[in-house]
Symmetry: C2
Subunit: 378 residues, 2 copies
Amino acid sequence: MENFVLSNPTVLHFGKNVIEDLADQIKQLGKKVLLIYGKGSVKKYGYYEKVTNKLREANIDFVEFAGIKPNPDNEVADDAVRFGVEQNVDVVLALGGGSVIDSAKVIAVSIPENLKTWDVMKGKKVPTKALPIITILTVAATGTEMNHFSVLQNNTTKEKIGTRNVMMYPKYSYLDPEFTYSIPKDYTAYGMVDIIAHSFENFFGYGTSPLADRFAVSIIKEVMNFAPLLLEDLRNYEYRANMMLQATYALNGTLAAGKTSGDWGVHSIGHILSLQYDTPHGASLSIAYPAWFKLMKNKIPERIKDLSLLLFNTEDIDLFISKIEDFFKSINSPIRLQDTGINTDKKQEIINLLTKNEASGFNYQFNEYEKLVDLMYL
Amino acid sequence: MENFVLSNPTVLHFGKNVIEDLADQIKQLGKKVLLIYGKGSVKKYGYYEKVTNKLREANIDFVEFAGIKPNPDNEVADDAVRFGVEQNVDVVLALGGGSVIDSAKVIAVSIPENLKTWDVMKGKKVPTKALPIITILTVAATGTEMNHFSVLQNNTTKEKIGTRNVMMYPKYSYLDPEFTYSIPKDYTAYGMVDIIAHSFENFFGYGTSPLADRFAVSIIKEVMNFAPLLLEDLRNYEYRANMMLQATYALNGTLAAGKTSGDWGVHSIGHILSLQYDTPHGASLSIAYPAWFKLMKNKIPERIKDLSLLLFNTEDIDLFISKIEDFFKSINSPIRLQDTGINTDKKQEIINLLTKNEASGFNYQFNEYEKLVDLMYL
């Protein structure tokens, strides 16, 4: 077991109507709120109205920045920083899924010193101040609601990278499962893949922690148990609540106890696909993981067997991989590039991007990009 | 799933030599430390010297209060409060196991307003201020190092009760598995029972949370996996580290996600035995749990089957109970009252104490005390 620090300052309010006390919490933190959201679905489904009503009832001053895109980028985040500086806001309130919250985190650490968000992402500027961040989650998937990570992409330099900063932990996170009822079947499935992928990444991280491994497998099993139920009943409270809880625990530090880091090799492959072809994050991972397991099965067979035994009670790695693929197929998440319309004419382009970005894991290194891409087309 | 708040402000430093930065953290919190410990084993095994050397090297002013007993009581805690007030301390540093840390928590919330600790335990006085608490753990068992709970007993009124207060979360907890090497085989086993019992209490708590249930079972399985290894090799770093991690997670809130509370009925039975006969906490629980399962098997068969299926892959409750008993026996923790020298002449006394203390669970109520005590003698 590796030395580690276990610490998570986020206060997470989970359940029905939890935003009741939102205004009270905001008032403790500041006077002028920057409300950040995406492309309008929060308005369509009524979440925006519920939240802004709470702010108005409590006479909280707020301004809005809309338009964060899926696979969010630094340019839009920079616009939000400029707006926040002009408006002299002192609290950031994010209403949305991973894209909105990841953007809001970087925006919150960039406003006080008027930093360029890509400089923050690349570590060229290290923020020393941050606005407090409050999040209201509308998509169960990335776990960003209870961690200090953020992923943004740069469409000019063709990079998609993550950063971490303890100031990026949300102060408060509000998780009402009913706020995820409107996520359609396909994106609900992609969220499930993301949760499983986070569990895998932690499982394959550096360090030996049998309890953390078993926690990771617990999440994967519960995702798999609830998937067929939830996908047939998208407005079921219990199913949505369970998925929301799985998502938070998959990346709030619990699965990393006793390890120094996760692997994150498959995420780095997935990010390339999202960057270049706008592939939804979860869909990119259901393509990348089977290929990665096939690439790794002769390199780290014992570790894959550990997982396979806990998850499926078999040491047969090929059977393990086919069961993973079968699950992804069962929820209609793609397992090959051509399933998402990325045909073999893109093969060299993908290899070049993986090479340029040095896509690899922290724990298990790889650079057999041609083989990997072949496996994603297989 | 029930609404819940997930929040744990403790910053936990886990691993080899983690107390290296102890002095730096203390200096951020105050100027004069009250160091609290037990009956001298921390001196015998060198932990006291390691810790006080760190304080001296950093020129940190500290005073000492020694003499916290196992099954700690309010009178000793009151002595510590008086001493802390006189000495004008502003940080509490606890070096020890559950008894020391539980005492230190109540002492820390009692010093600022010079409260009687039993008034705090009984809720007659509600502290509004607290000294910051730092803990250095020497026994893996109770989980107190990362929660806001404390249990004390009153030898005059013959009560042993718990309380909770958000100000009782340690600011920093230091967990170096090597600091637990000196725990003898019997108390190591009792610690294992306590960890399993916390997992059970959470499992049988109010609310439906399949993921939290699976986390609880994960801990129980890992305790059972490591028990025979650790008990034959008490100075093995990996085994000690795993037990320490299990203990922390069994009661740091993780197993309560989606529930309103644990059950705690069996703990309340165990506390009676510790109070009256000084039975070690874990030993009291390995006696009480089999009896409780036998009492409950016709009342909540489905819930016990849920646990049995996850843990032993059987729905046969009698088989489940015998497997639990076999495990406790295998680690030499008592499963009947007479195993600890409490003979049947005490039967009525125990029934009277259970009745007087209204020992029962929050979730599953019971009052068949005669039947229960018979089952503990069976």
